[in-house]
Symmetry: C2
Subunit: 265 residues, 2 copies
């Protein structure tokens, strides 16, 4: 019975839909409940206390929906709130930081890893600390890119401004000499190709979405919680503010035409 229960996945807004997409590829039979905390979006400029409070409420909401596992599909929430919400969660929890950090550690050849993320994620030093625990000899360079999320959400302006903005944000990434760059925010995979083009093939990009989906598969298999049913998987989405803006954004920036969200109560 529990195998058929949905996976819960949450983010401050639409960014976590990049993980939903990856889950649909890696675990096509799994039912998923997505929660976009659009009443509080963005998390990237909020405090640890605030992000922990919002994440705690969402975990309770998802547990009420009888999820079997929860993915914290937001880098800021993973960085700031994961230790606290692990203490209260009744089901298994996975953040996006560890899968990305593990992949980066495997990938780097020169021992230098760069991370681009929101201001809050950078301030938390979570990527730095997580990578250090895996291998304390690696160097980690963190760069906050506070304007990338709003730019990605404005599709028209994106075309005009992205080259200038990436040139500005990626200059210190190039300068630090890292051969591996973690895209430390779930919005960034949307502009992965443009980042790759600007950095060239000598810098490998780590996209937390795909690695988180793979890690979820491993964990569910270990816990014997994989859904082996052949019936079509159900995706449900909830938002904490009116769903319309969320649905429009999901369509515009992620081509998710079929996403219909309900207002969470």
């Amino acid at each position: 019975m529990q195998n058929k229960a949905p996976i819960g996945l949450f983010d401050s807004g639409v960014g976590g839909l990049t993980i939903l997409k990856a889950l649909q590829v890696v675990l096509p039979s799994e039912n998923i409940i997505y929660f976009g905390d659009t009443a509080h979006v963005p998390y990237g400029n909020k405090s640890k206390t605030a992000v922990t409070k919002y994440s705690t409420e969402i975990v309770k909401f998802l547990e009420n929906k009888k999820v079997k596992f929860i993915i914290v599909g937001c880098n800021t929430a993973s960085a700031l709130a994961l230790p606290s919400i692990k203490k209260i969660a009744k089901v298994g929890l996975l953040g996006v930081l560890m899968p990305a950090a593990k992949q980066a550690v495997k990938t780097t050849k020169n021992g230098k890893i760069a991370v681009i993320a929101t201001q809050a994620t950078v301030n938390s030093n979570s990527y730095k600390n997580t990578i250090s625990k895996l291998n304390k000899n690696l160097k980690v360079y963190q760069f906050a890119c506070p304007l990338l999320v709003p730019l990605i959400e404005d599709k028209k302006l994106l075309k005009t401004l992205l080259p200038t903005m990436l040139k500005y944000y990626l200059a210190p990434v190039k300068k630090c000499g890292a051969d591996t760059l973690i895209l430390g925010c779930t919005h960034y995979p949307i502009i992965k190709n443009q980042i790759a083009k600007m950095l060239g093939s000598s810098v490998k990009l780590i996209d937390s979405a795909h690695n988180t989906a793979l890690e979820t598969k491993n964990i569910l298999a270990q816990k014997k919680l994989l859904n082996t049913s052949k019936t079509k998987a159900k995706i449900r989405a909830y938002t904490s503010d009116a769903p319309k803006h969320f649905e429009t954004l999901a369509k515009a920036i992620l081509n998710q035409k079929s996403i219909k969200a309900e207002l969470a109560k």
Copy 2:
């Protein structure tokens, strides 16, 4: 006794501090309580329901602090929530829309007024409707500039990107032929000089901060609520998320070095 009571002023974040500055010039004797709703910032991409809920809670908070009058120092909240909160407020309320609209109607010579604002303010058509009520023969052109607020809050990137971004956002303003432009967001006065430079002297800029301060003075005088005391005015600030980020921003973008905020409870 009530004359010495403070004026309440709120915004989603630091933007409303432009009004605080104007109040300090126009009404230097008035005590002020500022509320920055940093747990929900920005309002510009939130729904009417959400913004009304947040504004209602803030009005109650300010009334508990015994304010004599409340300024809705945020264009989005004025556009979306003012009619609802007027129903519940026990003290007088003033939004930033009407003072700016009145000034624009007085200023225009060719009958064409442009407004730049957040997406939510534009969607609400509040400026269009307010101006129509004052003079239905005027033409109003509204333009959403969703990236201006996050850019203004990133002082380093501002220097690099503002010319490109203003060129993009102001092109349709120039094209519509308006001779008057309302800066329909409390952040925009911070980049007033750059906007003026790009549009030239044929377009007059309407800054809601100064006009709102003047209108507040008129209303308080009519109600016999002006503070005529000679003791130094007290400014207190509260935020709904941890105050540190608010204080840093206030210092960086508004040069408000002395602003210390408390977490609202």
